[in-house]
Symmetry: C2
Subunit: 304 residues, 2 copies
């Protein structure tokens, strides 16, 4: 999918067209790869990178008819050194050729021209990585986010700023109360301000946020506080959150948010219910079935 339209609108159209708000997280882990793909030497990074490429392409093939968004996790490719990054580049291109929106989960952050380099490198059709969006960490402040927003404007791209993360210890800084508001709320208000002059016809801006499904109360209040920000919701499945928890993230049309699942889809072939149904080794069939099941679960709650 080329970035001809505003990211907020492109995401909204994608959710409407695919009738899915599921984001498939591409987080390959060598020890969980299907045995047929698993290299014998886990420290042969070239071989592991080749296996990750084959696996992620197979997952994309299995899920592309059922979802509109995928999210490669940069860390698992960086873990393999330069060979992993080459594989990541191929996977992003493959997903975009399949008409999927690609959010790279890199949680990048820096200042000035360094932030510009990340933004220009990752975002848009003219960039070498050609991602539609990138996750961004806010500790360095507004002038560290502005360069990413400028690239959103220049390339019809998006970012997802960490607001309230799904991990148990996320509150260490995020929940600290300063000036009568938790820190995560300071970030949320900045995001709303950044989106204000950039709204698409969908009502959404290009500056999305990350709010964990593991904190449903905060998800509900943040949905209200950031009515123009697409929310990327991690924490579903392996991290314990359920469909009822993520329901708070959607707008009145049942859109405005995407729910990520990584392990529950990628490694569905290891889950007893799918192993029974498909037999061992049918990892693509299991991933597809898990995606369809997650669509059903979330579609059932997001339009109530």
């Amino acid at each position: 999918m080329t970035a001809a339209t505003h990211f907020g609108d492109r995401l909204d159209e994608t959710l409407l067209r695919s009738d899915s708000v599921v984001c498939v997280g591409l987080d390959p882990r060598v020890s969980q790869l299907p045995p047929s793909l698993r290299p014998s030497d886990h420290c042969d990074w070239q071989a592991v990178a080749a296996a990750y490429l084959q696996f992620c392409v197979g997952i994309i093939d299995a899920v592309a008819a059922h979802v509109g968004v995928v999210k490669p996790q940069s860390a698992f490719f960086e873990e393999l050194g330069p060979a992993g990054m080459v594989a990541l580049g191929s996977i992003v291109r493959y997903a975009r050729d399949k008409n999927l929106l690609v959010i790279l989960d890199g949680k990048r952050n820096d200042i000035g021209t360094t932030a510009e380099a990340y933004a220009r490198g990752y975002l848009g059709d003219s960039s070498p990585w050609q991602c539609d969006a990138l996750t961004v960490s806010p500790y360095l402040g507004r002038d560290s986010i502005d360069p990413f927003v400028a690239q959103c404007d220049a390339a019809n791209a998006g970012i997802f700023v960490l607001v309230k993360t799904s991990n148990p210890g996320g509150g260490f800084l995020q929940d600290q109360v300063a000036n009568a508001r938790p820190i995560y709320r300071h970030v949320a208000d900045l995001v709303t301000e950044l989106n204000k002059p950039r709204l698409g016809i969908s009502g959404y801006g290009p500056v999305g946020t990350v709010v964990g499904a593991t904190y449903p109360e905060q998800l509900q209040s943040l949905r209200a506080a950031m009515p123009t920000s697409p929310i990327l919701i991690p924490g579903f499945g392996a991290q314990g959150a359920e469909a009822n928890d993520v329901a708070f993230g959607f707008d009145a049309k049942g859109r405005g948010a995407i729910v990520n699942s990584s392990r529950h889809i990628l490694f569905a072939y290891e889950r007893p219910e799918y192993r029974e149904r498909y037999g061992a080794g049918k990892w693509q069939e299991a991933a597809e079935a898990a995606t369809v099941e997650m669509n059903h679960q979330i579609n059932a709650v997001r339009r109530r």
Copy 2:
């Protein structure tokens, strides 16, 4: 240099041996490359990556006799796509072969097994990137830093956690006061706690911090608050801070901190004083002279 010893001690020995606390930031920018290295097409990422490799190797050759630490900025290599990451890998190996400590400036951050992937990927002799240390962003909380600290223990590596950054807008979150302390102080106290059971014979732990030279008052108070944390001080030179500003970062022995300079050294050949002295095109001579000059400036204040 192999990581046979504790990172805090290895850094301390390096500063003593080199009689330098300067960290040369490897932040190549295509538009500022010496004309003899600059590719005609700035969007030919393979060509730009090859030029960055040649330039950074030349800079390392020019400065290796005068400093002990270099800090490649990951963003400028990521900006070139996979080709840039291949160049980055070669540069890290070249620097370590020259007996330099390599801090990768990636400001990475994530949770759980994803943070583990970053840590295993970047830190230590057995990792594909083989860096001595990595910069880390703290917004996700303590459980996002623990996996990096675990890898410090496993691989005699180090991290540098962002505490108080050098940019004008860094205070947006960092200076917010919660529980009677600014947010950056919450991070500082966590770092001190993390170092406590991990001190080397130098008195320093493997968990360093980033404190900008552009805030000398905070640098002074943070030096006192974090007596066991090596401090990486950006902001010198191009960002306006001077030797007197960074003086507050050192311990009583004049160590315990490193001062980064990127553009002022890399692109010294563009500065009038060096162009006059060496003539155009002598970018290695200019970089070496700028490094020697910075050593003199900072050595003059760090032992007062």
